[in-house]
Symmetry: C2
Subunit: 265 residues, 2 copies
């Protein structure tokens, strides 16, 4: 499917106008049915839909590997995907664990970033263990590569880009109108390629929301690097689950928010 | 509550590092209970929480005015708000109308922006009727004012800003880590101030997602102006429901995507 679509627009410069063709980023609606029950409808970019579905199921802890998937039927025309898994009972409960996660974060409504007792237990994540060490110059280089990739972003201004790397190079990259979908696509593609995640790095073109850290924590991914700003809860969670969080990577500058020992200066 | 919070970061410039205090944008979790049932947990910026709650209930069509609210009990410490409404039965069904909306959009998975039969009926919105006419120079001015407002954005880079205007000036303005919350805050504040919405304009600092147009359509707001890009479904829905959509307002330039008759050059 096309990632962009031509659209007639009226361009205005000061008080003069003219007709023009402009590219829009395509938004697509994908409804996931798990074991014949409707699970979720994702508004997404129409590419890597198989990866998106698998990554969504993986980060929601409904599957752990491709072996858990018995049948997978994607209908691009209708915007539906039907997935049958080995463990039919896993569905509802695990899906709502996401809501429980968010609910449990209530305890962190404090202005003290390091506050919030029992927070880690409540979000149900083990602290991330990893000896990965990443050279600071590699981070500058990744960010440049990452941005180079996104032709759609350059032409339409409307997508987020996420990459999965080891300490040397980018392994998987995806983009989407929603940042959490872009991450799920990367996770799904890693799943299909059997890429081990616990020593990898996630690079984001956009802001770091709490959900991004939650997803990374669930999968035990040790390093998250963003071109943009993290929120207070993102930093709090990254510290708690032992994730290295780097933000505002721009040109030859960056901020390290947590677990700086994994970054080699 | 504080909108930003100081955080120790390690700043890196090239391969040199130093410790530094940086401001983070605060993220807060608010759980809404409607008529004693848990309705939703919103991750948001900790200000205008009453407006956020009322705006969320309004755009989800669970209330139409303040008269529908019998009791309102916000606990900022716990991050909860309990709302009791006159019509107790409205809750579940109306809330899930949002999912039905998204579900119904499946039919628009086409590369033809103007395609998708029955789309308008399915999203359950009347076409917006309004004779409002907005001067193009006013749009440039609004966008400058809008950005001037957001001190938090300037210091942390992490929030979206939404304003509600008439053809002359900004009436209500709000910011949030999530763009849909910022819009709900503006709607909620308009509700408490009894501002008539059907001749107003929404100005967004960020991208125009489909949800923003859906919310505006539900409330019959005729004009949406953004500093950034709309998606294909946003443009499709704006055309269908007769909303004027303007994007990429930067300096003295802009793109008009739909219903240009409301913009006076």
């Amino acid at each position: 499917m096309n990632k962009t679509i031509a659209c007639k627009v009226i361009k205005v410069v000061e008080d003069k106008s003219y007709d023009c063709d402009e590219l829009l980023v395509c938004e697509y609606s994908l409804t996931i049915f798990l074991n014949k029950k409707r699970l979720a409808t994702l508004l997404c970019s129409p590419e890597k839909l198989r990866e998106l579905t698998l990554g969504f199921l993986r980060t929601e802890r409904l599957i752990t590997s491709l072996d858990d998937v018995l049948n997978f039927n994607l209908d691009e025309e209708k915007g539906t995907v039907e997935v049958e898994t080995v463990n039919k009972d896993a569905s509802r409960e695990s899906f709502f664990s996401k809501k429980v996660d968010l609910e449990s974060i209530k305890g962190t409504n404090t202005t003290n970033v390091s506050g919030a007792q029992n927070f880690l237990n409540e979000v149900n994540c083990e602290p991330v263990k990893s000896d990965i060490c990443l050279d600071v110059n590699k981070i500058y280089a990744f960010m440049a590569e990452d941005l180079d990739y996104s032709v759609v972003f350059k032409t339409t201004g409307g997508v987020h880009c996420v990459a999965l790397c080891d300490s040397q190079k980018i392994k998987v990259i995806a983009e989407d109108v929603a940042r959490h979908n872009a991450l799920d696509k990367v996770i799904g593609e890693a799943l299909t390629k059997e890429i081990y995640l616990k020593d990898k790095i996630i690079i984001l073109s956009g802001r770091v929301s709490l959900e991004m850290i939650l997803k990374a924590a669930k999968l035990q991914i040790p390093v998250i690097i963003s071109k943009s700003a993290p929120t207070s809860l993102s930093v709090a969670l990254a510290k708690k689950v032992n994730i290295t969080l780097v933000g505002f990577v721009r040109g030859n500058k960056m901020n390290i928010y947590s677990n700086a020992e994994r970054i080699k200066l």
